[in-house]
Homo-oligomer: 506 residues x 2
């Protein structure tokens, strides 16, 4: 094939944009890991400058002309572009349109409002004072509604925001699904409650020296297949995964010397993200398609390793001896079964980020209900705290003692991230669907896990999901891997299976 000159132009624009994005990501990584504290203000300035440059490259007249040229002509270019190239172009078109959708004046206003809102949210949460944050929240909701208008939607304004995090996702799909999921979760929680079983998790909260925890966690993610020649691990206050190229994937973790879970499961989680980033095709480097298919799909990969694999009983047949080598006294005599029960406790709690695998979705459903109502205008900002508390009672059966542990607990609204929360639950549902597909493709997977032989599983994830980056949309990807469409059934089945093993035949 002759190289298509317009496609070469697309590659050039994407190269410039993605190299800027890589630099922005490095500036961000450095800020969270090694940057000296006095540099906060100049670093923010640097990131803002480079972000504005990336935005202006994508929204330039020539980028827009290129995007619209391909939007119209792509079907006619069958002979000139390969399938992958066409998909890369589609990502480009989508990114340009997204960047163009918001008027400059709106972007500036949003930046101003969210900067102030984040500061005020911190104070509001620290003093548990919703009143302090109320006006900001009102402004943020108005901005979100305005953003939905700019971005456009056919049925529900929330769809315009959902689409940012999980392309193609809609309220029409999510609402009935979340209803069924909350119903099923309720049944599981009832079974747990009436079982009377209370697994012992005291083995997890002994003293585990930080350095040993880090070494053990590194050993485990190396066995998972995280490639340290193309990645690394550092410490940060909040764990994250970022990447500047397929060959440069950075994970961070934190360590709690009195809880074995924080570093270990945190790092396995981030390594799940990291394997996704390391598994993308080399051809995607320097394009805007070197990204996860969606937030939900990315989360499915971290949760696949953190929950499906590392919270399985099979995993601990292999992992327990590994950990015992680092913690011989703390873990003396512990069995895989004991560990499995200790790390899979199901218990309603107030704080989303501390919730277990099963109750976690209830936190998301609660936020989803509030966000959709705020967006459609059927709930006012003033009703949020009361609604939050009512929904917590309804979904989790517990009382919210104050707004700090209620509607002020999450940072997301303060940065204008409406539509973001559902990704977390989508990640859980996708992961459970992929688990079923894995068991069909590799029926011996549980035995492989039991022996710590993760290579075939990682390769299956790479072939099915990782390599494609953002060139397949979530729905297409899910169908190609599972043969079906998004459903909560696999997750519910998986959750019941675990709960039955741990809480008896309830």
């Amino acid at each position: 094939m002759e190289p298509n000159p317009a496609y070469q132009d697309v590659l050039r624009v994407m190269r410039n944009t993605s190299d800027l994005q890589a630099a922005i990501a490095l500036l961000g990584w450095d800020q969270e890991t090694y940057m000296p504290p006095a540099a906060v203000a100049t670093r923010a300035e640097q990131i803002a400058t480079l972000s504005a440059m990336a935005h202006s490259i994508l929204t330039s007249d020539s980028s827009q002309r290129l995007a619209e040229f391909f939007a119209q002509l792509l079907p006619a270019l069958d002979g000139e572009l390969s399938e992958l190239e066409k998909r890369i172009v589609r990502v480009f078109v989508r990114q340009v349109r997204q960047a163009v959708a918001l008027p400059e004046d709106f972007v500036r206003r949003k930046a101003r409002v969210t900067t102030l809102a984040q500061e005020r949210w911190k104070h509001a949460r620290a003093t548990s004072s919703f009143a302090l944050f109320r006006d900001d929240l009102a402004a943020l909701v108005e901005l979100a509604r305005e953003e939905a208008q700019h971005r456009g939607y056919t049925q529900h304004p929330y769809d315009a925001l959902l689409d940012l995090y999980d392309p193609g996702m809609t309220v029409q799909t999510l609402s009935p699904l979340f209803e069924r999921l909350s119903q099923a979760t309720q049944e599981i929680l009832d079974a747990v409650k009436t079982s009377g079983v209370a697994p012992d998790r005291s083995i997890l909260t002994q003293h585990y020296p930080a350095q040993k925890q880090l070494e053990a966690a590194r050993t485990i993610i190396e066995a998972m297949g995280f490639d340290f020649s193309a990645g690394r691990v550092d410490l940060s206050a909040h764990p994250f995964c970022t990447s500047f190229a397929t060959a440069d994937v950075r994970l961070t973790t934190r360590v709690n010397e009195h809880d074995l879970r924080s570093c270990l499961f945190g790092l396995i989680h981030e390594a799940g993200h990291g394997l996704y980033e390391q598994g993308m095709r080399a051809e995607l480097d320097g394009t805007l398609a070197r990204e996860g298919a969606s937030m939900g799909i990315h989360e499915s990969q971290s949760l696949f390793w953190e929950n499906i694999i590392a919270r399985s009983e099979e995993f601990w047949h292999w992992a327990l001896p590994v950990l015992q080598a680092y913690f011989p006294s703390q873990l003396a005599g512990v069995t895989p079964k004991q560990m499995y029960r200790a790390i899979n406790l199901v218990e309603p709690s107030l704080i989303r980020i501390e919730a277990d695998e099963v109750t976690y979705n209830m936190h998301i459903i609660l936020r989803y209900r509030i966000e959709t109502q705020l967006l459609e205008g059927s709930m006012t900002v003033d009703e949020v705290p009361e609604q939050w508390n009512t929904l917590t009672r309804e979904l989790l059966g517990i009382e919210v003692p104050d707004d700090a542990r209620g509607c002020l607990q999450d940072i997301h609204w303060s940065f204008g991230g409406f539509g973001y929360f559902p990704s977390y639950t989508l990640g859980k549902l996708y992961a459970a669907m992929f688990r079923r597909a894995l068991l069909e493709a590799i029926p011996e997977a549980p035995n492989l896990i039991r022996r710590g032989e993760f290579a075939p599983i990682r390769q299956w994830l790479k072939d099915s999901i990782h390599q494609w980056g953002r060139t397949r949309e979530p729905a297409e990807l899910v169908t190609s891997v599972t043969g079906g469409t998004l459903t909560e059934r696999d997750f519910v089945e998986y959750a019941w299976e675990k709960v039955r093993r741990i809480y008896g035949s309830a």
Copy 2:
């Protein structure tokens, strides 16, 4: 004063350029410290993209119009711009003109030639085979001559290159100065040789554990005043200092467990650079003036701390007990005098980067003679090895056994850095001039050093030199600090003083 709108435009352009440069510097720092090895190729691509962006911002039509507007009108803007603002504008004009001076085609050719030349130089040095590098060197010299034509000069083509590293420096100034310096150095070396004294440096080459060396060096640079809240220290193969803001200055070091000097003096040297970067006025952040006045002036600051201060006998009255706390057995019974003698050995040697304070300049004078002759066309590339060996005999009195330890030892030519070497010696001369000025301004400085009270010295350097960044050219800066113009006399006097103390009354 009303803000001048054209000045605001200058600030905007500089902000964009300098934020890109900060990101490029971070990409470079990361590459040398933490980047996983597999990322080399994509990192080079990212740096190239951002560098091209910075270049295209500076060479855009609007930047050129702004620069020429101010180049003509600056004297007329007395009422509208402060003195500092006018100086910042002058830096802008200079940077734009430098960026515009080279035609794009030339820049691309130079990039291609130097990339290949660096690879070939590595092989040539490894096999000590000048023939392997000969054609590259010929091409590099041709490029340097062409670059001099593009950049322009009035007397000697080498002036155009010197000006890049030390604005205003010329062959007319340097040649006689270097003649006098080599003459004086010769006399010092003769005195050392005939003294018959051979100080013992065996205390330096015992076993010094790496971690302790790092801790000791950090303690010492903290006492010098390096601000760890606005900077940090990491490990790298080759030590360097880089900065992304006045509040974010990064030093690197390496450790040799069998030589106390490598880490300690290396880090003191880099901290000297670092204090310069940390001492610049906050107003220079985000402008192109947040840089050293020149390579030579920057080097004067590192050498001021490494040599003038940390290789003085007074320094070791304070530093020896500090080090003895880290190395009680290795340094038991050692006196400041012994240490002073061990670290100030003068001895002709083959390799520039291993040379002592006194003989070092001979290595530079040798390279200066060869470079100027290559540039003016009075020496051919084929004559270089023989000339190198002859000059080594003449200046240092030793024989070059092979080209690896002769004309192939330095990387500089392979990246096209003709004109760079003199900065090293200029740094030594400036440092000695600043030493004399310090002793006039703060006569008790030696006693302060003896007590480890560096704050007044650091403050004097900041007030006199650091704060100005690139807003004062070297000659103006030197005159403002010393009252005189560039001379070798202070250095020669300083060197004689040391040599007399160590090698007797010779």
